[in-house]
């Protein structure tokens, strides 16, 4: 563009502001405004009558009192926390182990492992849940077939999704299977940054494999592992699609709700948007509390 005479736009159009407007408006309208509405809703009596047009009534913190005195809420929260803990530990341990394995493999085998992980990573969560749901199917699932073959006792007709504990076992397999690739790839990238000379020096000084890992490797990859840990906690705490879809395939919704699915059930089937809103606000607060460490660490890095 080589116009000799350029009209200079007014000062406020030359700064960064116009560049921020499109993203800012979309996020403010579609995330910010509903967030405000959510908090308002959680302070109102908002049931079926209000959905059909009756004016909502301010009830202060009554919805929160109801939620916190409802044993179902605590059961759901406990289930979510337990599910999250099991999945995060399984994902981190297996993911980092696979990353460590990848550093020791030859090029060809490393390519094989990466290709496999990539495929699992790319599966849409809903399709993955449906496929695993079929592998664990009661009558013609491969898992029951293999168990019958291996153990000799008859597993055909065993329902995995009916019992809440084995329902969560299947859900854990699905979620972990899909989360491991991200952890493995990121941890592998971090491991390749560990300087080989330091490891060699440590080994010349007589450090064994375990102390080399503990004293040299771990401090180098610690910050990456912490970020991964926080992200996994956040993702596993708000798991929705896998649980909801497994409930479609089989299983008792009331006994297997995690907090995201529970909010949806209370708000839609239950028709109580006030209570659903209060639980949603609680979830937002929990998530921000968990991620505050991550946010602060990122800001510190930003300012450095």
């Amino acid at each position: 563009m080589s116009t000799a005479v350029r009209r200079r736009p007014p000062a406020f159009l030359r700064g960064p502001l116009p560049l921020l407007v499109p993203a800012g408006v979309v996020v403010a309208a579609i995330t910010g405004w509903p967030l405000v509405q959510l908090v308002i809703m959680s302070l109102q009596e908002f049931g079926r009558a209000q959905i059909f047009g009756a004016p909502p009534e301010w009830v202060g913190l009554a919805n929160y009192v109801d939620v916190f005195t409802d044993p179902t809420f605590w059961a759901v929260l406990g289930r979510s926390l337990a599910f999250c803990a099991v999945n995060v530990v399984a994902t981190m341990v297996l993911g980092v182990a696979i990353a460590a394995l990848m550093t020791r493999l030859s090029r060809g085998f490393r390519g094989l492992v990466s290709a496999g992980l990539l495929l699992a990573w790319a599966m849409p969560p809903l399709a993955a849940t449906v496929v695993w749901g079929w592998l664990f199917d009661t009558d013609s699932g491969l898992v029951n077939y293999l168990l019958t073959l291996v153990t000799g006792s008859d597993w055909m007709g065993h329902s995995w999704l009916f019992n809440p504990v084995s329902f969560y076992f299947v859900a854990t397999v699905i979620v972990t299977w899909q989360s491991i690739p991200f952890v493995a790839f990121t941890a592998y990238a971090a491991l390749t940054q560990v300087p080989g000379e330091v490891l060699e020096a440590a080994s010349l000084d007589g450090a064994g494999a375990v102390s080399r890992f503990r004293l040299v490797t771990l401090p180098f990859i610690r910050s990456v592992l912490v970020v991964l840990l926080v992200l996994q906690i956040i993702w596993d705490m708000r798991v929705f699609t896998q649980i909801y879809a497994l409930q479609t395939i089989g299983g008792l919704a009331e006994a297997t709700n995690t907090i995201g699915v529970y909010i949806y059930a209370v708000s839609t089937k239950g028709g109580d948007l006030g209570a659903g809103g209060a639980i949603a606000v609680v979830l937002v607060v929990i998530m921000l509390a968990i991620s505050s460490y991550y946010i602060r660490a990122t800001l510190r890095e930003e300012e450095a």
């Binding site: 563009m1 350029r6 960064p16 560049l19 921020l20 499109p22 800012g24 979309v26 996020v27 579609i30 995330t31 910010g32 509903p34 509405q37 959510l38 394995l101 550093t103 020791r104 094989l112 492992v113 496999g116 992980l117 990539l118 495929l119 699992a120 790319a122 599966m123 849409p124 969560p125 399709a127 449906v130 496929v131 592998l135 199917d137 013609s140 491969l142 077939y145 299977w177 491991i180 690739p181 491991l191 300087p195 080989g196 990456v224 956040i234 705490m237 929705f240 479609t248 995201g260 949806y264 708000s267 948007l273 809103g277 949603a280 979830l283 937002v284 998530m287 991620s291 946010i295 890095e301």
Partner: protein, 284 residues
């Protein structure tokens, strides 16, 4: 990292573990495709078929042409493509502009924007489901491609802005200044110099936006209520429900149809994707 050649038996054990990891990762995907190519009778028989020895494409024909439930495949595919396309383009464009503002300018509220970005990224979309529905309803954006695309754009924007910001940082501002000396306007310099250099960053964030929008399920379920405005994930769930989870051969064909675009896309850009995602987490 120095190459330590493991002793022979150790190397064998590592390779065996590698194959086990590979099989565990790939098997469900293989099983999905395999079952989708078998007749229903073979899939529901008591002995599993490990290979598509009775190869047939009947399941795909049935899935595409015979609607189960009230949602048809082709309209759902169209809606999915449209929503995903609009979301990816909008997210990349808006994120590019915002990333420029946050890297090339120093202004007083900059820190505030960055904090807001990080905090909003951590708000779980599941919590906002119902209130977003009511807000969209008030704006007559229910059952609208624009409405759902806006939701997906807003969902991926914090991440795409943050990631692109890192990539823009890596491009020296001197290049833009040189173009401006040569008579380019500032916006022209951004568009003609910076934007084309952002290839890897745009690929990484574009794939992210694509996958999020293509796979998203809950908002699509709630926002698109008419059968003819459903997206593919919602169609798949309706399919599973309509067959009462019995015709697994057809269900696997339906799942494959949902998964193929993502898998192909992923494999094409995977190198850039992982390096792009990892660039934020690992500092050299």
């Amino acid at each position: 990292m120095s190459r330590r050649t493991a002793r022979r038996p150790a190397r064998l054990v590592l390779n065996v573990i590698a194959v086990v990891v590979f099989v565990a990762s790939v098997f469900p995907v293989y099983w999905m495709v395999n079952s989708s190519l078998l007749p229903a009778s073979a899939v529901s028989s008591s002995t599993p078929h490990l290979f598509p020895d009775l190869f047939t494409l009947k399941n795909y024909v049935a899935v595409i042409l015979e609607p189960k439930g009230d949602i048809r495949f082709l309209p759902a595919l169209g809606t999915s493509l449209l929503v995903t396309g609009v979301s990816v383009v909008a997210a990349l464009l808006f994120a590019f502009l915002a990333a420029l503002a946050l890297t090339r300018f120093r202004f007083r509220s900059r820190r505030g924007f960055i904090v807001a970005l990080l905090v909003i990224q951590m708000v779980p979309p599941e919590a906002l489901l119902i209130s977003t529905y009511r807000v969209l309803d008030g704006w007559h954006l229910i059952n609208s491609v624009i409405g759902l695309s806006l939701v997906y754009t807003a969902t991926v924007l914090p991440f795409t802005v943050w990631t692109l910001r890192g990539f823009v940082n890596g491009i020296p501002a001197e290049l833009e200044e040189a173009a401006m000396v040569d008579g380019c306007s500032r916006m022209g310099a951004f568009w003609r110099v910076t934007f084309p250099l952002l290839g890897p960053g745009l690929a990484a964030t574009g794939v992210f936006a694509f996958i999020q929008s293509w796979n998203e399920f809950i908002y699509a379920l709630v926002v698109m209520t008419r059968p003819d405005s459903r997206t593919l994930p919602v169609w798949l769930r309706a399919f599973v429900q309509a067959t009462k989870a019995t015709d697994w051969a057809q269900i696997m064909a339906a799942s494959t149809l949902l998964a193929i675009p993502v898998i192909v896309f992923f494999l094409i850009v995977q190198g850039r994707m992982t390096s792009g995602l990892v660039a934020g987490a690992v500092k050299g």
